[in-house]
């Protein structure tokens, strides 16, 4: 199964939300990383046939997904960023309804619902009304509904948004479990969501892909060294202006800064291993400019 974006563009009046994207994806986890407003959701909604491209197309094994209609969507699972649900249905009924519109036969729908609710640890809550669920529980039901038809293409738009750190880790592990033998496209602006589970990371900004590769590729692409140093607190603002600062931590001697720079910002700065978080900052952070 191969999903290709071919010169994909989405224009809203004067705004180009997605600009001339080209990419071919096969099985594996793809992490779509970008700041808010980068065009991730627009791209995902096009992949889910919810909005049509202004130019270009998306093909699944060579066929235009908008022409394939139901044949394409039967292979699709989607968890939108703003996951809406029917508040007066129970979790079980919600799952059964989604199963029905995904074309699952009743017996299979029931067994699939039971097994997925078990997998996302929602079995005990299956009789609860959707309106009573917490944010984390809703996200788990969200992923379960996306998996109902055992999709070959799983699209997860900001799946960890609004979750507490524990829920996020749990959710990440769940996605990792579900990623076998399918194409998972996961959008996020939280680096740790994709750092460990994505086979390939796509950096997106202003509607364009500007880097595609593994986490290591991205980290090595920044061409900067990472340093930590301790500086007096009153000088922090000055450092923030002069350098790309990944982190500021209060220390007993002043403030400990994590800085991306070609050379040590202070003579006693310690060199550190660059991470994806540093790369994210490098590509998306506000760069005040490095001065001598």
């Amino acid at each position: 199964m191969e999903l290709s974006l071919n010169s994909l563009t989405k224009q809203y009046d004067t705004l180009t939300a997605v600009k001339d994207l080209n990419l071919t994806m096969a099985s594996g986890v793809y992490g779509l990383l970008g700041v808010n407003g980068a065009g991730k959701t627009t791209l995902m909604r096009m992949i889910c046939t919810l909005i049509r491209p202004s130019r270009g197309n998306i093909t699944c094994d060579g066929k235009d997904i908008f022409e394939m209609e139901g044949d394409y969507r039967r292979q699709l699972g989607y968890l939108p960023q703003d996951f809406g649900y029917y508040p007066d249905l129970t979790v079980f009924d919600y799952m059964m309804y989604i199963a029905s519109i995904k074309g699952l036969r009743p017996t299979f729908a029931k067994s699939q619902t039971d097994s997925l609710l078990e997998q996302v640890d929602m079995k005990k809550a299956s009789k609860m009304k959707m309106r009573k669920l917490s944010g984390g529980m809703l996200r788990r039901v969200g992923i379960a509904q996306a998996m109902l038809n055992d999709p070959k293409i799983l699209i997860l738009d900001e799946p960890t948004a609004g979750l507490d750190p524990n829920e996020r880790i749990r959710f990440r592990n769940l996605i990792s479990e579900l990623a076998d033998d399918r194409l998972v496209l996961l959008s996020t602006h939280i680096v740790s969501d994709v750092e460990f589970i994505a086979n390939e990371i796509i950096l997106m900004n202003k509607g364009e892909f500007f880097f595609t590769g593994t986490a290591e590729d991205i980290v090595s692409s920044i061409g900067k060294e990472v340093w930590t140093c301790t500086v007096p607190r009153q000088e922090v603002d000055e450092y923030l202006k002069r350098y790309l600062v990944a982190n500021v931590k209060t220390a007993s001697q002043g403030a400990e800064l994590r800085i991306l720079s070609d050379r040590p910002p202070v003579p006693d700065a310690r060199q550190e291993q660059a991470t994806l978080e540093d790369a994210f900052l490098f590509y998306f952070g506000e760069k005040a400019g490095e001065t001598e």
Partner: protein
């Protein structure tokens, strides 16, 4: 399975449950009003006026003393009884035979014209009635085709009439009209929600990204809307009818409607007229559901989808009365819920050489419109793209 869960979505919605419960409660209340609208004077207890649950039965039993063929002898006896002071049991016969005698009432004395008729006039009352029917056909038929059509309809009226008290049907024609209007608004609200809720709850993205989200699932929604319209209307009117008729009785079901409206162009019994009224209300419910679903599927909101049927069925009658285009406003959808008035006035229309009556036309026409809107509802959802 899709339809089952679509219906479950509707029935589990708190607001829908409240509305349905309120609508059914109103049906019970209206039944009580209908039953309580009767008052009868008892014979045995010296003319005591009864307004209890039994009033309708007492009144009907009293009137049914005249049950049978309404021939000149029966009319003469009824007139004598009235002149002897029996107003209660003779009121229907005096009223209808007076109308048969003088045609459309023009002054107050006409209401009791039969009381001053001589025996020759009473003996020839059905001849006079047929002459008046002919005069009516000439008055309302402004073309030869319309006149011939009206006469054809009037020829279907079987005379002499057979009298049986029809008070419960007469009352229910009024109450079922009001209840139909209430049910239509409830149906509009619920069916609009079927298509608007995907957006209201932001469930649209998941819905439209599923295999059948743009095909069978839309069909299921439309079917759910039609089922809701049928079931809600059926249960509502059924409840009203069962409660009311079981208390008031069904005397007069096979009495000719002409005994109440001698110049009506619909040769039907009271039972049939009630069935026509219920059918008109059902078509109105289907139309309301269809319009609501169409608008909700287009606008993605409930508000306009509820307002439009309300305008069609509630506001249009007032506009129709205020404006001069009576022919046009006699064909607007609100007429479906105004069957009693439609039956009272001989509205007929001519297209080329074809002449037709109002009630069959509006029922068939709006049923066809309701059905014709459904593919548009499907198309709206099938092609819908999100932002």
């Amino acid at each position: 399975m899709m339809l089952k869960y679509e219906l479950k979505k509707v029935m589990n919605k708190r607001m829908n449950r409240v509305l349905l419960a309120a609508a059914m409660l109103l049906m019970v209340v209206f039944s009580i009003f209908a039953i309580g609208s009767f008052q009868a004077r008892t014979e045995g207890t010296g003319g005591e006026i009864v307004t209890s649950l039994t009033a309708a039965r007492i009144l009907v039993a009293d009137k049914n003393r005249w049950q049978g063929e309404l021939n000149p002898e029966a009319i003469t006896k009824s007139v004598e009884s009235r002149q002897a002071g029996d107003y209660q049991s003779t009121s229907d016969i005096i009223d209808s035979t007076s109308r048969m005698l003088v045609g459309e009432f023009s002054d107050l004395d006409d209401y009791e014209a039969i009381l001053s008729a001589d025996s020759a006039q009473i003996a020839s009352i059905y001849d006079t009635y047929h002459d008046n029917l002919r005069a009516m056909s000439e008055e309302y038929g402004d073309t030869p085709e319309k006149q011939a059509f009206l006469m054809e309809q009037y020829d279907k009226i079987d005379t002499p009439f057979t009298y049986e008290a029809y008070d419960s049907w007469d009352t229910m024609l009024m109450y079922a009209t009001t209840c139909g209007l209430i049910l239509i608004i409830v149906i509009s609200f619920i069916t609009a929600g079927i298509f608007a809720e995907e957006f209201q709850y932001k469930a649209d993205a998941v819905f439209f990204s599923t295999r059948y989200g743009r095909s069978k699932a839309v069909h299921a929604k439309i079917r759910a809307g039609l089922i809701i319209a049928t079931v809600v209307y059926g249960i509502g009117i059924g409840l009203l009818s069962i409660i009311s008729f079981s208390v008031m009785g069904i005397s007069g079901a096979s009495t000719a409607y002409q005994l109440s409206q001698p110049y009506a162009i619909y040769s039907v019994t009271f039972g049939q007229m009630y069935a026509i009224l219920v059918l008109g209300g059902y078509v109105a419910s289907l139309l309301a559901a269809s319009v609501s679903m169409l608008i909700a599927s287009k606008t993605k909101t409930m508000s306009i989808a509820i307002v439009v049927p309300a305008i069609l069925f509630y506001v249009s009658p007032f506009v129709g009365r205020a404006l001069p285009f009576h022919t046009f406003f006699s064909l607007t959808p609100d007429q479906l819920t105004n069957i009693v008035n439609c039956a009272r006035i001989p509205y007929i229309y001519q297209v080329g050489s074809i002449v037709f009556r109002q009630i069959p036309f509006i029922i068939v026409f709006y049923a066809a419109i309701a059905v014709a809107f459904l593919p548009l509802v499907y198309r709206n959802y099938h092609k819908l793209l999100l932002k």
